[in-house]
C-alpha cells in the first residue's frame, strides 16, 4: 500500500471511529431501558391515607385536566393538546393493563413523571411538564401512584399525535432534555417560613405554574432568567406572577387565596380560559396548601418591595364624559349592562367591577377580547361568575367598539390601538 493510500485509509478509519463514537454517545443519551411489567397492584395494597394524600397531590398537579377528554372518563386521556408543534393526545393514566398504566411499577411511574420516559423506554413529549415534576419528592409521587392505581381502569387508546413533519421522532426528545431538563428538588430556604417553602415546593413542582406563566423559547422550553415573566396558553395571556405583573399592587395573600379557590376575587377579576380548570381543581385542595401557594406567589409578586403596596381603589366610571359614543353605549346597554353596569344584580352580589378587571387595564387586549368571544365557563361546583360567549352575537367591529367603550369608561388607560384588527385576528385564531 503506498503512503498516500495508507493515509486515506487511516483518515477514513478515523472518521468512522469518530462517527461510531458519536452514534454511541447519541445512543447512550437516547437509550432508556424498558422497566418490566408488573401485575396490576390491587387498590387494597395501598393505605387509605396514602391514597387520600395522593388525591390531594394529584389535585395540585391538575393531572385530570390534561388526562381527560371533554365528557370523557377521568384520567383516561385522549385530550387534544394543541402546541406550536402540532397536536398531542394525552395518555390514559387509569390502571387499565392494556391501554393505561396498570402494569407500571411505582419506579416506572416516577421515571415517567420526573424524566419523561415511558415504561417501555420511549421518550415522552414535554407537554407532560417534567421540567417541573423533576422537583417532586418520590414519596409524593408514590402517593399519586397509589391514588391513580386505585381508580377505575378504563380502556381507551389515545389517537395518534399529529405533529409537524420531523417532530414525530421521539428520540430527538433526548436532546431536548439534555438542554432543558435540569435539577432535582431545591433546598429549603431557611430564611423563609415553612409555609413559604411549602408554597415554593408546590408552585415549582406539582402545580407547574410556570408551564403557562413563564415565557417559552423557540424549542418550547421555559426561558431561563425570566421565571414567571408571563406566557401564553391556549390563546390567552397568562399574566406574569413576578413583580412585573401590572396589577401586583392589587394582589395580596387573601385576594390570591380567594381567587385560587373560588375562581374569582371581588377586588380583582375572574379566572378565565385555561385558568378556569386550575381554580376548579384548587377548590378541592386543602386550605393549608392553597394558602401556602398564595403566600409564595404573593412574595415573588412583590419581590424587592418589603412594604406591601396599599390595595388601590379601582372604582372608575367615566360614563358622564360627553365624548362617549351613544351608539356604542346602546350596544353596551343591550349586551353587557345586565351584568356589568355598576349596581347591576351581578355587581351587587360582590362580583368584580369591570374597572377592577386587570385584563381591561392591561396593555394587551387579548384576554378581554377572548372573554367577549369565548365567554367564561364557571368551574363546576364553584360560585364563580359565568359569562356567555358573544362570538356569534357580535361582529368584529361591535366587539371592538364595546371593548373600546369599556376601556374608556372603566379605566384610566389609553385606548388600545388597532383593536378591530386584533379582534379579527384572534377570532380567526380561535377557529383553527
Amino acid at each position: 500500500m503506498n503512503p498516500r493510500k495508507r493515509l486515506l485509509w487511516a483518515g477514513a478509519a478515523a472518521i468512522c471511529a469518530v462517527g461510531a463514537l458519536g452514534l454511541g454517545i447519541a445512543a447512550w443519551v437516547v437509550y432508556e431501558p424498558e422497566i418490566p411489567k408488573i401485575p396490576r397492584p390491587a387498590a387494597s395494597s395501598f393505605s387509605a391515607d396514602q391514597i387520600k394524600r395522593g388525591e390531594q397531590l394529584a389535585t395540585v398537579g391538575d393531572c385530570i385536566v390534561c388526562h381527560t377528554k371533554d365528557n370523557g372518563p377521568p384520567f383516561a386521556g385522549s385530550r387534544a393538546l394543541p402546541t406550536p408543534f402540532g397536536t398531542l393526545y394525552s395518555n390514559n393514566i387509569t390502571p387499565d393493563e392494556e391501554t393505561g398504566i396498570g402494569n407500571w411499577s411505582a419506579e416506572a411511574f416516577r421515571r415517567a413523571v420526573k424524566e419523561g420516559i415511558g415504561r417501555d423506554g420511549s421518550h415522552l413529549y414535554p407537554a407532560l411538564p417534567y421540567e417541573h415534576f423533576i422537583k417532586v419528592n418520590d414519596d409524593d409521587l408514590d402517593a399519586i401512584y397509589a391514588f391513580l392505581m386505585s381508580r377505575e381502569p378504563v380502556s381507551e387508546v389515545a389517537p395518534e399525535n399529529q405533529l409537524l413533519p420531523g417532530l414525530g421522532i421521539r428520540q430527538s426528545l433526548a436532546g431536548w432534555k439534555l438542554l432543558f431538563l435540569h435539577g432535582g428538588h431545591s433546598e429549603e430556604d431557611t430564611t423563609k417560613s415553612a409555609e413559604w417553602n411549602r408554597g415554593k415546593y408546590l408552585v415549582d413542582g406539582l402545580a407547574h405554574c410556570g408551564a403557562c406563566h413563564t415565557p417559552r423559547n423557540l424549542l418550547g422550553a421555559e426561558k431561563w432568567g425570566n421565571e414567571f415573566g408571563g406566557g401564553i396558553a391556549e390563546g390567552w395571556n397568562a399574566p406574569p406572577l413576578n413583580a412585573s405583573n401590572p396589577s401586583a399592587a392589587r394582589w395580596n395573600v387573601d385576594a390570591l387565596t380567594e381567587y385560587l379557590t373560588t375562581g374569582t376575587s371581588a377586588a380583582h377579576s375572574t379566572a378565565a380560559g385555561p385558568m378556569g380548570p386550575v381554580s376548579e381543581g384548587l377548590l378541592r385542595l386543602n386550605s393549608k396548601d392553597v394558602h401556602a401557594i398564595a403566600t409564595y406567589i404573593d412574595d415573588i409578586m412583590h419581590a424587592g418591595r418589603p412594604d406591601r403596596p396599599q390595595l388601590q381603589n379601582v372604582d372608575v366610571d367615566n360614563s358622564k364624559t360627553s365624548s362617549m359614543q351613544s351608539a356604542t353605549a346602546d350596544l353596551f346597554q343591550g349586551a353587557c349592562a345586565g351584568c356589568h353596569e355598576p349596581k347591576s344584580p351581578m355587581a351587587l352580589r360582590g362580583r368584580p367591577l369591570l374597572s377592577a378587571t386587570s385584563d381591561l387595564n392591561a396593555d394587551d387586549p387579548r384576554n378581554s377580547i377572548q372573554a367577549v368571544l369565548q365567554g367564561i365557563q364557571a368551574p363546576v361546583g364553584s360560585n364563580a361568575p359565568y359569562m356567555p360567549p358573544f362570538a356569534d352575537n357580535l361582529t368584529d367591529s361591535q366587539v371592538s367598539a364595546l371593548l373600546g367603550y369599556a376601556r374608556f369608561r372603566f379605566t384610566t388607560k389609553a385606548p388600545w390601538p388597532d383593536l378591530e384588527k386584533t379582534v379579527r385576528e384572534i377570532r380567526k385564531e380561535n377557529q383553527q
Binding site: D330, L331, F332, Q333, G334, P388, L394
Partner: protein, 156 residues
C-alpha cells in the same frame, strides 16, 4: 329610532331603541313568540334563535347589533300543519315536559344539523350543552335530535 332587521326572510322596520334585546322585539313587536324569556342573562338558552345560521341567545343581542345579518326563529322552521324535520322529531319523541325550553332546544339542534346532518352522540351532547331543561327531559331531547338526524340522512 327605526331599526331594520330581516327575520325568517322578511324585512321589518321597527320603532325601537337599539339597545332593546332582540328577544323583546321578536316577541313584543313581531309577535313571534317561539323564543322564550328565561333568565335574560344568556345562561339558559330558552331564547335561542339563529343569526347568520348560528344559534345565539337573543336576550343578550341588542337589536341594534343585528344589522343586515338574517335572523331565524322557531316560526321559520315550519308551521303547526307542516312542521320542520327537527320540530316533527321533537313531537314524535314527545320531548317536551313543560315545554318552556323546547323552542330554544329545537333552534340549537337545528343549527347543528344544518351544518352537520350526521353528528355523533358526543357531538350532539356537546352542541346542546348551553341549553338547560329544568324538567329533565334531556334523554328525550337527545333522542329527538338523533331522530331528526336519521330523518335528514334518509331524505338525503
Amino acid at each position: 329610532m327605526t331599526v331594520s332587521i330581516v327575520v325568517n326572510g322578511k324585512q321589518h322596520d321597527i320603532e325601537s331603541s337599539p339597545d332593546t334585546p332582540l328577544l323583546y322585539v321578536l316577541r313584543g313587536e313581531l309577535e313571534l313568540n317561539g323564543a322564550k324569556y328565561g333568565c335574560g342573562l344568556g345562561q339558559c338558552g330558552a331564547c335561542t334563535v339563529h343569526i347568520n345560521g348560528t344559534a345565539v341567545f337573543s336576550c343578550l343581542t341588542p337589536v341594534g347589533a343585528v344589522g343586515d345579518r338574517p335572523v331565524r326563529t322557531l316560526e321559520g322552521l315550519g308551521t303547526v300543519d307542516a312542521p320542520g324535520v327537527v320540530q316533527k322529531a321533537f313531537q314524535d319523541e314527545q320531548a317536551a315536559q313543560c315545554g318552556y325550553c323546547i323552542a330554544g332546544m329545537i333552534m340549537r339542534a337545528q343549527s347543528l344539523l344544518d351544518k352537520n346532518p350526521k353528528p355523533t352522540d358526543e357531538e350532539i351532547r356537546t352542541h346542546m350543552q348551553p341549553n338547560l331543561c329544568r324538567c329533565g327531559t334531556h334523554v328525550r331531547i337527545l333522542r329527538a335530535v338523533r331522530r331528526a338526524s336519521d330523518e335528514l340522512v334518509k331524505q338525503g
